[in-house]
Subunit: 345 residues, 2 copies
């Protein structure tokens, strides 16, 4: 009835505890036949290491680091907030968690922040990259030190990290396109698409998906040139304005990046909320209000709080040397007027 211990395993395998230990903890210097005997016994008894005992025995503090854009960015502010809320739990789990902030869209800022973590003996590092940030060298060096690397929100190349936690941004773009198409209800139209920059991987992916669906399923909806905003509302405001001025046929706006405040201001000022279908990413108080007013029609929210939770769960599994928990795909939430989540979701 009682769970088998390593002593039980050793006994069944007909070896000493020391040898069983050498096998399960891969210490080497064990004859092949002993390995087999021990593994057989493990199998037969269904032995699983008692994690509590192991942690108690090791008693080594675990260290995580999150490298995130500054919390003044509304989106990342939500990740920070969730991390704050998780601190008591991390304390209970005996995990220390450092947060390093960097300035997004500042060349080399991420790379520099990551470099500072070299040789610091972190167990895991999670970071928000943006694709073309030249960080792959540092990431490689960190991984060479045995640090687990997790990329958040925007994925980098497959080999640069151990895990990616974030939504599928191509799918998000496809969803946006279909909703735009649905809202046109067969009518022709023209969409302005905006991004922070085209080399930000998540924005690029969204545009890609958006294009795919419009081209294949809604051929009479055109896409104007893609506007690059550096995720700044001021840039958004001016560039989007000139686009709207030039082109009176615009029926929809899809902002794949930040800078929603610019969009909202403009639609309000030009009084376009009735005539333009507006779909943006990620909830903030500005977006909330705009959605309730009808200025924005749909918000696709990737729920950074949940991404943060996933990251924490994954990192905890990693430090305990457990397999990652079975986690369903991350799907962004779609908000329309009248059913927003509670303020502190």
């Amino acid at each position: 009835m009682r769970n088998p211990t390593l002593h039980d395993v050793a006994h069944l395998a007909g070896v000493s505890y020391a040898t069983a230990d050498r096998v399960v903890n891969r210490r080497g210097n064990v004859a092949e036949k002993s390995v087999l005997k021990v593994k057989g016994a493990v199998e037969q008894l269904g032995y699983v290491r008692n994690v509590s005992a192991a942690k108690l025995s090791k008693n080594s503090p675990h260290r995580l680091a999150f490298v995130l854009p500054h919390r003044s960015h509304t989106f990342f502010g939500r990740m920070h907030a969730q991390l704050d809320r998780s601190q008591p739990h991390l304390k209970i789990a005996r995990i220390s968690c450092d947060i390093i902030e960097f300035e997004a869209f500042e060349a080399g800022a991420l790379e520099k922040a990551l470099s500072g973590l070299l040789g610091q003996k972190y167990d895991c590092i999670a970071f928000v990259g943006q694709g073309a940030d030249g960080a792959s060298g540092v990431l490689g060096a960190l991984r060479a030190e045995g640090v687990h690397i997790v990329s958040l929100v925007s994925d980098g190349p497959e080999g640069s990290r151990d895990h990616y936690i974030g939504i599928d941004n191509v799918k998000a773009g496809r969803t946006a396109a279909r909703l735009v198409g649905m809202a046109h209800r067969g009518a022709a139209g023209c969409v302005v698409v905006t991004v922070g920059a085209m080399d930000v991987r998540d924005h690029f992916d969204r545009v890609t998906g958006f294009r795919q669906v419009l081209e294949s399923d809604f051929p009479n909806i055109q896409i104007s040139d893609v506007i690059k905003t550096k995720d700044q509302s001021a840039v958004m405001r001016s560039k989007l304005r000139s686009q709207l001025d030039q082109n009176a046929d615009i029926t929809a706006i899809y902002n794949t990046g930040a800078g929603n405040e610019g969009v909202v201001d403009l639609v309000r000022i030009l009084d376009l909320s009735a005539s333009i279908f507006c779909i943006v990413h990620d909830l903030s108080s500005v977006v909330r209000t705009a959605l309730e007013e009808g200025v924005i029609d749909i918000v696709i929210d990737q729920r950074p709080e949940i991404e943060m939770n996933r990251a924490l769960a994954l990192l905890q599994a990693v430090v305990d040397e457990l397999p990652p928990p079975p986690t369903p795909e991350l799907i962004p939430a779609i908000y329309v007027r009248g059913h927003l989540p509670n303020e502190r979701s």
Copy 2:
């Protein structure tokens, strides 16, 4: 640097380890002033019990039970599957998890299943209720035994359980209404709404939310009588058919419950996919196909896999006597054609 232990606390408080232990584990027979001294020391040192050591020392097996409708129901099948996937993790966490299946829509079946758990020394029980199932007596008895009770998917009265894990179904109904409205793009219409039964709480809530938004924001979209299907495709097929035959003005169908197969069959047979906007709940292979075909336009999926994960996380926290983890609100996913999640999400 090292985390403070209870010995440290006792020392700082100027009492023996035994007394400190009496305080933190509420064993009683401690003078008030000693309690204060110990609590002060705990506070001062930021002492938190080492969960690993506690678990190791207690070494008591934890027992959970899930009381779910039979896995042949596609929706609950997904919950079962997620539970299956979690078994290795539960084993590692030294938690045993029994699954009790019952026949939904069979009067008294849930109550009977729950009764069987009385006196079985479960730590926590999670169950899927349906509102009017007369189970409140048993639930009270179980809670009186000290069993933690969690309701899933469909909430019961506030006092009948310790936690509810599921989406806000009123909001889901509101969302459905807004999407239906959006798809009408100002045109008038008439929606058929279908439920399993009106006393199933989640279905009822959805209808309520749906009504709210249509009445307030889309007054020229009518709602036909609500069709009750007992969540059976056959019933759906016949009742919905007669409704469609009677009323040629129907522009949309909103199914709040199960029985989607009936909806899909009918729309296909009557060739209504172009003329009727169809929105349903919860993904299944039938719904997947129908969505890709254009027979169904939108699926609101409450992601039972995630609900199951949440339940497991919560129950684990409960058995370890930890505060529940900080969890963002559950928001259902909204699927349209072309961006479905991976098959085994």
